[in-house]
């Protein structure tokens, strides 16, 4: 499972961090770090809950990365995992 991070939408609510501190990492100002997140097997439930908490819809759960079609390529997006 992968979380697609729409960094520009993040406004620092930090609800993802509150739900899944092991999955989501914030910078010193409280905004999400850039880059999509590959979620480890044991953390998928919490990660998904964390993403669904985002009031700005900045976190998108991608359950099947292989089948996903990239709508546009964002060069700033770096895979962290």
């Amino acid at each position: 499972m992968r979380i697609i991070v729409h960094k520009a939408k993040c406004q620092g609510h930090a609800q993802c961090l509150a739900r899944a501190p092991g999955v989501f990492k914030l910078d010193d100002e409280g905004y999400i770090l850039p880059g999509d997140i590959e979620v480890a097997e044991g953390e998928q439930r919490l990660a998904s809950q964390g993403a669904r908490c985002c009031p700005e819809r900045a976190l998108e759960v991608d359950a099947t990365p292989a089948a996903r079609i990239e709508p546009d390529v964002d060069q700033s997006r770096v895979r962290r995992a």
């Binding site: 939408k9 406004q11 620092g12 609510h13 930090a14 609800q15 961090l17 509150a18 914030l26 010193d28 100002e29 409280g30 905004y31 809950q49 669904r52 908490c53 985002c54 009031p55 700005e56 819809r57």
Partner: protein, 405 residues
Amino acid sequence: MAINQVPDHVPPEMVGDFSLFTSPGMSPTPNGDPHAAVACVHAGAPIFYSPCNTRPGRGTWVITRAADQRRVLQDTETFSSHRSTFASALGENWPMIPLELDPPAHRVFRSLLNPLLSPKRVTELEPTIRERAITLIEGIAASGTSCDVMKDFAFPFAVNIFLRFLGLPEHRLHTFVGWARDLLHGDDVRRPAAARTIVAFIDELAAMRRNRPVDDFMSFIVQAQVEGRRLTDEEVRGMGVLLFVAGLDTVATAIGFDLAYLARNIKDQDLLRSEPDRIVLAAEELLRAYPSVQMVRVAIKDIDFEGAPIRKGDYVSCAAMIANRDPAEFESPNTVDLSREANRHASFGYGPHRCLGSHLARREIVIGLEEWLARIPAFRIKEGTAPVAYGGHVFGIENLILDWS
């Protein structure tokens, strides 16, 4: 309150009669539930024009759906936050910062303040917050089996934490709360008087900290640099006033509404007392159910928004209490469900102006509830009393007398 004409560009069929200021249930009401009263708008059109929906009696568009509010609050190129709401009470025009600045100027000041109230910083403040809550509640528990929650706990707790953060003297707590009350809830005489008093106080404090800096918020602001320069006097004032106004009664109000709910819903009260691990999630649901503020924006260009012909200069109201009852966003929105998951409520707003103090506010609410439930046995609204709740510019509750005899 002056009733304004509906502008010519607003189609008559889009005019609604709901107002956060004048609708039934918005004025101070014993045992009132202004949040429930607001929910009725979802039976009507998703967007309508309310001819009298600001304190001075101006009309606004009312955006009822959470998804549409998100669009408005995220689109700062169409919907500006620059309204000088505070300064206008004085007949002046300067922004509270960063709230009343739009991006990109907003970003510089927001970045300056973000680290001061980040989740990490708030975690460091937690022991102090908890100690303050415990001291107050132990005092209440030792002195009887009843108290006025707002006077005895909510305000002394939340305002004290905030004054410490700002570096303001704690012994003046009641003075500051009085100013904030006059400013937020006062009439046409008290409101500008309070605004003048607060500005003079902030200006004086800034001058003092410039001469002799200490370790507090105002010293930080007067020494801070943006884009390689010091802040101007107007910028220092804009930031000082915003922080002062924003933090003084919001958290206390939230704690008041939360404890009123728990006093009336004994099962939920018992559940949280016996399983305190549930309080973090429950606090989010109580934030959803009982928000206190509305976000207002002004259109800076014409836009046809979901069928509404919004024109440059129109006010657009995004009330959290309305979005939070949107059935398209929340299942059973009028039911308080303390184990609700994925609770994307609008109580701290959306977009770049998302409440800067939200992390601190959340911690205070959670700690306040944890320590209250741990120390006060089953409590109810005291027989023969009625809490007074009201809507308007900032929702609130008074005279909340709890009893655990």
